[in-house]
């Protein structure tokens, strides 16, 4: 459906912009170089859930590449990891119907599961393997980095992303059953 596809184009753009802003200005360094724990993955997760895998994937990728560029030097292996992360979370979008105002046990557990899987694939597979292929880096090193990043992002994405989706679901909640007290 046309409208939807245009909305997705815009969502991708705005999602990328959010990713950029948060990644660039709201970063908490985790102590390990080129490994920042930040909020952008929570937002990316939210967009992935609301708009599906394609938006989740592209918004993250575009945001990540633009952000790297603003520092100089793009970190491809990690950019792709970000993309895959959004993609995987997005694959669960259908099962998490916050758009109808539901974010209860079932949705939450699905969301956690999705993030677990997504982070595992992104940070324990794509990113390290990328680093090994590109930089011939020491497997031990890159997996440690991946693990740290993965854990951090998992924590943040689940907690923050969860809070955000919960807040969002409240705003679309049905209001029929309300009476003044």
């Amino acid at each position: 459906m046309k409208n939807d596809s245009v909305k997705k184009v815009v969502a991708t753009g705005i999602g990328a912009a959010l990713f950029f802003v948060l990644a660039r200005f709201v970063a908490i360094p985790s102590g390990i170089p080129n490994t920042n724990i930040t909020f952008q993955y929570a937002i990316q997760a939210v967009f992935a859930v609301l708009y599906g895998p394609v938006v989740g994937c592209l918004s993250g990728f575009i945001g990540h590449v633009l952000c790297d560029m603003s520092w100089g030097g793009v970190w491809w292996s990690w950019a792709f990891a970000t993309a895959v992360y959004g993609l995987v979370v997005g694959l669960f979008a259908k099962k998490i119907n916050v758009k109808d105002g539901y974010f209860a046990k079932k949705e939450i557990s699905t969301f956690v599961l999705a993030n677990l899987l997504a982070n595992a694939v992104a940070w324990l597979l794509i990113a390290p393997v990328g680093d090994i292929v590109i930089y011939k880096e020491d497997a031990k090193l890159v997996f440690t980095q991946g693990l740290v990043a993965g854990l951090g992002d998992f924590l943040f994405a689940v907690v923050l992303g969860g809070l955000l989706l919960f807040g969002y679901s409240k705003t679309v909640a049905k209001t029929g059953s309300l009476d003044k007290e």
Partner: protein, 570 residues
């Protein structure tokens, strides 16, 4: 002549809604007409517009009944693309529709999507830009443009592939009075140049009527309740009945007991003609008024001294700004788009740090104190409530500001409930905020500031885009607060609000204060009005017409009388 837009027993119901939003609309609009659509909030104006431009049903699904043809094509069998080449739409929010990175790109947007070749494109956009007078800014980015300029770009962006119908949804909200006036004149100009059919949806009808319109369509609850020539509508009592503000001069004439049915040119202050005995009536009314005397000689609660300010790595915004506010005042800050009004408030709250100068609260210097510290004395309510609301439930939202002050649950609850009572939100305390109307949301944000017990509250354009009912609701509420002794500072573009509710106005132009006097005095000062992009009140014209020497006093009398009337009303 065949109508270019024709509704036949047309109804529409959003999927999300239980009731139809448009009910049995019958409406014919003829080529070259200029039509004003007004009505209370939620009456279905935008919905009607979106049916014409195709957003309904192609973007918002819902149930359609009856017929709607636009320029000979039946919309429901058409597509949004087919319609968009016929209907150009300019929406309220200028940033939402400025999608290009520069002016030129944005104007070219529609052409790019139509696969027009570059050279042709360049020609066409220059032409369109010329029509709206933006051609000198083609390579500027949106954040280098004023609100008015952005709107011109939006207009150029739709007239560029010469549409037959132009649709404006609240073009005046958020524009300063002068820019609003020029926007209306520009719309009229474009209409004449391209003889398009023009539909304007707007609450501020006096401003729209500044240029002639052929018909006014008045909507209420999804129905068309009146469809007549402006003068007829103005003479009737429909406007007040359906909660639309009638032009100021009209109210004035009524107060003076002039029989508006006999007056010619009633639909536009420019061609208003008053007979001698009407003028006499007005003079008599004026003589009869008791001169209002309201002086506030409390201590100063807020003093701003020689403040300069620039956002980091951009040019200076505020130049040596100084003013004083007395405890219990209700003060207006007015002026051009981009003059620095919001910035000034942010500096006062400590959101932004001023380079030079001092800010005193009750005589003590707070220039160095933190945002949090100032917030307990001075509250700032942003224009867009969605930017402030971060909780699902009203109670939590309001409680947020005092949560980590170490109050006990009881104290906390009591304080929140009191605030909610003041704001008339008590019975909603357990509602989700999503269930509230815009006006109510606005009140929640005000409550969430009040709960911290500030003695000064600053509000950024509290009534932008609101209809008369919500406007009155919000303003009366603020007036009550003010009577409770809270000092209130309003940033506004609404000259009527300034006259009606505030004792004093501070006028900004390009980061400088150019005037600091009563609203009526401001609006009777031609030079100042020019310099600060304001707009004379129509009362001023009346005063001149009738030959009253002291228009300021005349306006004051009117406002005084108007307040009395309103208080009698409720």
């Amino acid at each position: 002549m065949k109508p270019i837009i024709s509704f036949k027993d047309f109804s529409f119901q959003y999927n999300a809604q239980k009731q139809p939003t448009l009910k049995h609309i019958d409406l014919d609009i003829y080529p070259g007409e200029k039509i004003l659509i007004c009505g209370a909030s939620g009456s279905g104006k935008s919905t009607l517009g979106n049916c014409i431009n195709g957003l309904i049903p192609f973007s918002y699904e819902g149930k359609m009944e009856g017929e709607l043809t636009v320029d000979g094509i039946t919309t429901k069998d058409s597509s949004i693309f087919e319609l968009s080449t016929r209907v150009g739409t300019v929406l309220q929010d200028p940033d939402g529709q400025f999608v290009g990175l520069t002016v030129a790109e944005d104007i070219a947007f529609a052409l790019e999507n139509d696969c027009v070749e570059q050279d042709a494109m360049k020609r066409q956009i220059m032409e369109a830009a010329g029509k709206v007078g933006i051609e000198d800014h083609m390579s500027k980015a949106p954040y280098d443009l004023s609100g008015g300029q952005k709107q011109r770009v939006s207009m150029a962006g739709v007239i560029v592939d010469d549409v037959k119908i132009l649709l404006f949804d609240e073009p005046l909200a958020n524009l300063d009075p002068y820019t609003g006036k020029t926007a209306i004149e520009l719309i009229d100009l474009i209409k004449k140049q391209t003889d398009t059919t023009v539909l304007i949806i707007e609450h501020r009808i006096e401003d729209v009527l500044w240029e002639k319109v052929d018909r006014i369509i008045l909507m209420d609850d999804g129905r068309i309740v009146s469809d007549t020539k402006p003068e007829e509508l103005l003479r009737s009592d429909l406007l007040s009945r359906y909660g639309i503000r009638e032009p100021l001069y009209l109210t004035q004439l009524k107060y003076a007991g002039v029989d508006v049915n006999k007056v010619e040119g009633i639909d536009n202050i420019k061609d208003l003609v008053l007979k001698e005995n009407d003028k006499k009536k007005i003079r008599n009314w004026y003589e009869a008024q008791s001169k209002p005397e309201r002086i506030n000689d409390n201590d100063y609660i807020l003093e701003v001294e020689h403040v300069d300010f620039a956002y980091d790595n951009s040019e200076q915004i505020l130049f040596d700004v100084s003013f004083k506010v007395r405890q219990g005042e209700m003060l207006a800050i007015v002026g051009k788009n981009g003059a620095g009004k919001s910035t000034m408030c942010k500096v006062i709250c400590g959101f932004e740090k001023n380079r030079t100068g001092r800010i005193l609260f009750k005589g003590e210097d707070i220039t160095q104190s933190s945002i949090r510290a100032r917030a307990s004395h001075i509250g700032y309510v942003m224009q867009n409530p969605n930017q402030m609301i971060s909780q699902a439930m009203i109670f939590d939202e309001v409680a947020m500001g005092i949560r980590n002050l170490g109050l006990s649950e009881e104290e906390l609850q009591e304080r929140v409930y009191n605030t909610l009572k003041i704001c008339g939100l008590y019975e909603f305390r357990n509602w989700p905020i999503s269930a509230l109307s815009f006006g109510q949301k606005k009140r929640v944000t005000i409550a969430s500031i009040l709960v911290m017990g500030p003695e000064v509250v600053m509000l950024d354009e509290p009534t932008a885009g609101q209809d008369l009912r919500h406007y009155t609701e919000i303003m009366e509420f603020l007036k009550e607060l003010n009577e409770k002794g809270i000092t209130i500072i309003l940033i506004t573009h609404d000259m009527h609000l300034m006259l009606e509710y505030t004792d004093r106005s501070i006028v900004f132009t390009d980061g400088r204060i150019v005037a600091d006097k009563s609203g009526s005095a401001v609006l009777c000062d031609r030079e100042l009005i020019q310099k600060a992009a304001l707009k004379e009140t129509s009362l001023f014209y009346i005063a001149e017409m009738v030959g009253i020497i002291d228009p300021v006093d005349f306006v004051d009398c009117f406002i005084d009388c108007d307040r009395k009337e309103r208080d009698r009303g409720n």
